[in-house]
């Protein structure tokens, strides 16, 4: 071995290696983000099993080296630094949330490694001019609600909301969605009656609910992560105020947990935007859903698991296309190509920002339906106005 091999990845030393291909991943398996972190792990593992069953990637079996970053920014930096410099993994996949991917992607960028992240759509992620970062969802946070605004534009004037309230959690993934929606709806003439940002540890929503009940907005658009989404609906119901339209960012996408939390009957008509739908007919989606159910006691996959699966699909497509794990080639290929994933087609700008559109979903009769855009819709009917609480 010459000096040139020093510091190179083990697999670069022999192109025809039969060693497993090691993908380094840090995930929040404990701490605040342990829930999406756990789902992301499942998504990655379902993908790994599928690819290995078909002979692997570049003819090599895939090994996932998953470490726990405990939802901590310092730990995630340590994790990726160690994966790259000491473990010398062949490829990387991202962690969960903008908070953790922000520093993690900087480590990857410094080491010139491609970093495909399954979550982390906060605008500041893409303001740093990184060349190796790719966000594997259809759109970033500020564009997440575009599809909902577009839906409101299609309504006849008498069916549009005239007034709106915008409570949102102080969260990098919720706030930009709601503030961008507010701007767009104000431009449409929807009057803002209430805006409020509350901290992530807020547990009592009666105070917000009582103000909303006194202002009586037609639309309540809440930047809700999960607990806060359930909390606000419960409080609104306790105060017996039901808006004509209710939109929440992420909370309603946690299917069973959401309907358990607010009561199945109360989900009727709730809107949210989502990157993925279980019934979507995208290539490989039925396989993903079936394999997930087989692996995890027949549970429905969460969106977070699907996003992780899609991130892995993106990496797989690029590695397969360039026929090696040369990071520069993978990066250049991703910048100039569109990848078909279970979320639909994904393509990126030079900063790694995706250029697609989210799906507008709505709870109808205890199930989630996609109502827009029309090419992805699972139903033609939309519940509007929302019925009263049951």
């Amino acid at each position: 071995m010459g000096l040139s091999a020093c510091g190179s990845r083990p697999s670069e030393q022999a192109t025809t290696s039969t060693e497993p291909l090691v993908i380094g991943i840090s995930l929040p398996l404990t701490g605040d983000f342990s829930q999406p972190g756990g789902e992301a792990r499942r998504g990655y593992e379902v993908w790994q099993k599928q690819v290995n069953a078909k002979g692997g990637l570049l003819g090599r079996q895939i090994q996932l080296k998953i470490v726990d970053d405990a939802s901590n920014q310092d730990t995630v930096v340590t994790d990726y630094t160690k994966l790259i410099t000491q473990d010398k993994v062949d490829l990387l996949l991202g962690t969960f949330s903008s908070l953790l991917n922000y520093p993690a992607s900087a480590v990857a960028e410094k080491n010139q490694m491609v970093f495909v992240e399954p979550a982390g759509g906060a605008p500041n992620m893409f303001a740093r001019g990184f060349k190796n970062l790719f966000f594997a969802q259809p759109a970033t946070a500020p564009h997440q609600a575009d599809v909902f605004v577009n839906y409101i534009k299609t309504l006849p004037a008498d069916q549009r909301p005239k007034t709106a309230a915008y409570p949102t959690q102080d969260d990098p993934f919720a706030t930009p969605v709601i503030s961008s929606m507010q701007k767009q709806l104000e431009a449409l003439g929807v009057k803002t009656l209430y805006t409020q940002t509350y901290p992530a540890d807020t547990t009592n929503f009666q105070s917000i609910a009582s103000q909303l009940a006194s202002k009586k907005p037609d639309l309540i658009a809440q930047g809700a992560v999960f607990e806060d989404g359930v909390g606000l609906v419960r409080s609104l119901k306790q105060l017996n105020y039901s808006p004509k339209m209710l939109f929440q960012t992420s909370a309603p996408s946690n299917a069973g947990q959401y309907s358990d939390g607010i009561g199945a009957a109360n989900t009727e008509g709730v809107f949210y935007t989502v990157s993925w739908n279980q019934d979507a007919k995208t290539p490989q989606n039925p396989d993903f859903v079936a394999d997930y159910k087989t692996a995890y006691k027949n549970a429905d996959p969460a969106e977070d698991a699907a996003d992780a699966f899609a991130a892995a699909q993106v990496l797989q497509a690029a590695v397969t296309a360039v026929g090696s794990i040369d990071q520069a080639k993978i990066r250049d290929w991703l910048h100039s190509n569109t990848v078909q994933t279970i979320l639909g087609p994904l393509s990126w700008s030079q900063t790694g920002e995706p250029q697609g559109q989210f799906l507008l979903a709505q709870w109808q009769s205890g199930k989630v339906q996609v109502v827009a855009p029309s090419e992805a819709a699972t139903t033609q009917s939309v519940v509007n106005p929302k019925p009263d609480w049951k």
């Binding site: 701490g31 409020q196 009666q206 909390g231 419960r234 017996n240 939390g261």
Partner: protein, 294 residues
Amino acid sequence: MAQLIQALVLGLLIGGVYALMASGLTLIFGVMQIINIAQGAFLILVATFTWWLWRETGIDPILASVITTPLMFGLGWLLYRLVVSRIKGQSPSMSVLLTFGIALVIEGVLNVVAGNKFKSATPSYFEESFTVGSIHLPKPQVYGFLAALVVLAGLYLVLTRTWTGRAIRAVSQNPSAAALVGVSAAGTAALAFALGSASAGVGGSILSVLYPFFPASHYDWISRLLGIVVLGGMGSLPGAMVGALILGLAETLTATYGSLRWSTLVFYLVIMVVLLARPQGLFGARLREDGVAA
């Protein structure tokens, strides 16, 4: 005016539940100088168990505290005898490390056994309210508050009217004098730890109805409870109650009249101001400084 009354009433209801949750923490500190970081994890453990009981048997979640309380009493007693007693006499920071370890173990076990998903018990009344004029009193909060009152009153009676309670207070005020009159410090400490844990039995059952929770929720709860206890004075039960009510009111009043962003900040600002004026907290006793001329 109605808005003010609504905010005050909600603040009091929430504060009552907080008081119950914080009572165990302050009791354990008062007797043993042990800061039980696992108290939040105890709450989530009980909430999870309550949720499971409610789902499997249909028992009312708040009533389920009749089952969870003795179980937590037993668990607290066992934990003290097997683990916590080993650090007796060492510095409080040691107890922080140990009980944080216990909290992590509980979180890990819950992740494996119950899964890392949000849960919340939703009995029929979980989103109903009593209405008095234009004031809404959410039923779960009202029931939770009443349950908290009953338990706090019971705890107060135990501590003031029974020999055991007097022993617990004696040990917390002056361990050596208590030993002189025949109070077993070890037995009393185990009992206090068990009682403190048992209070999480009721607190956790109430929590299961009031808030969605998952294994890692205990971090939020312990930070809130520590804030309450520090404000009220470490080891003081009345202090915990007053601290809890201040937190409840700070939350609802700032949410109604200011911005929710300020609610956490306001509470901690109150703590800081109080500690500047009274380093031992509102009701905290200054530690004895034997041998120093007053």
